[in-house]
């Protein structure tokens, strides 16, 4: 048994694909039409190459409620690891990304939180060496 897939809900798959590729820097992996939506995944060019993130539509009312409740409480939906959190923070801010938490040392890791323009807060973290 392996963990190869993670999924997040987004309010619009086109917008999500733009943000997750053009701003965050991931690469589109799969795009398969499913009814009105698409099975849409991205991977990180920094690897691992076979771990995919699925960008799922929030069209299910349960998904929308879950997403909005977390967002309002300021809780990130998921987290991505980065090598240099300060550099990522500056880079993303130049792209107009809005942070709800600046890079903050929490002991084991330094974390920051931003809005992904698709209805989620996302955390980035760097292990403190």
């Amino acid at each position: 048994m392996r963990i190869k897939l993670n999924s997040i809900v987004v309010d619009n798959q086109d917008k999500a694909l733009r943000f997750y590729t053009e701003v965050l820097g991931f690469v589109k992996s799969k795009e398969i039409p499913v009814g009105e939506f698409r099975w849409l995944t991205v991977v990180s060019p920094e690897g691992p190459a076979d771990v995919e993130l699925s960008l799922e539509p929030n069209a299910n009312p349960a998904a929308k409620r879950y997403q909005e409740e977390l967002f309002q409480q300021g809780i990130p939906l998921t987290a991505f690891e980065v090598d240099d959190i300060r550099a990522e923070y500056e880079r993303l801010k130049k792209h107009g990304v809005v942070f709800t938490m600046e890079p903050t040392d929490t002991g084991q890791v330094t974390v920051a939180i931003f809005a992904d323009t698709c209805g989620n807060l996302i955390q980035i973290y760097q292990h403190v060496k």
Binding site: S7, N12, N60, A63
Partner: protein, 144 residues
């Protein structure tokens, strides 16, 4: 940096933009959020990926899709119900964004369901990696 209070205020503004009956001017919603219209539009777009106006239009189209799918309302009723003021511009916009005209969308989703409830086929089984009802949607399209 967006404080948690500011985040909550933006969420409230988002809720206001989804209202189909009030149709409050953007300037009024900005005021409620404690921002000038300019800063409100800028900040809303940076956080939600669409300007307040675009967000409102999208929300209306989503609501229109739901009502059309239920099949109990005419296209004209749906158009005015969700807050559009002209049937022509509603039909044009809907066709462009959704890919089919409202009347076609309405026919397409005429699947049996309990009165007043959304046909299950319209609720994508996301969170289950889309292996739910949405996967059945193409079959429903073929049947009709």
């Amino acid at each position: 940096m967006l404080t948690h209070d500011a985040l909550i205020r933006l969420c409230r503004a988002r809720d206001r933009l989804r209202e189909t009956d009030g149709r409050a001017p953007i300037a009024e919603i900005a005021r409620e959020a404690g921002l000038s219209p300019y800063h409100f539009i800028r900040q809303f777009a940076a956080v939600f990926g669409a300007t307040p106006h675009q967000y409102r239009i999208e929300a209306r189209l989503e609501q229109a899709k739901r009502l059309l799918a239920l099949g109990n309302h005419s296209v004209t009723d749906v158009c005015f119900e969700v807050g559009f003021e002209s049937l022509g511009s509603f039909s044009d916009l809907f066709s462009r964004r959704v890919g089919v005209a409202p009347s076609m969308y309405r026919r397409r989703w005429q699947v049996p369901s309990r009165a007043g409830s959304l046909p299950r086929a319209l609720i994508p089984g996301c969170l289950l990696l889309m292996c739910g009802e949405a996967a059945l949607a193409p079959a429903i399209f073929k049947k009709h």
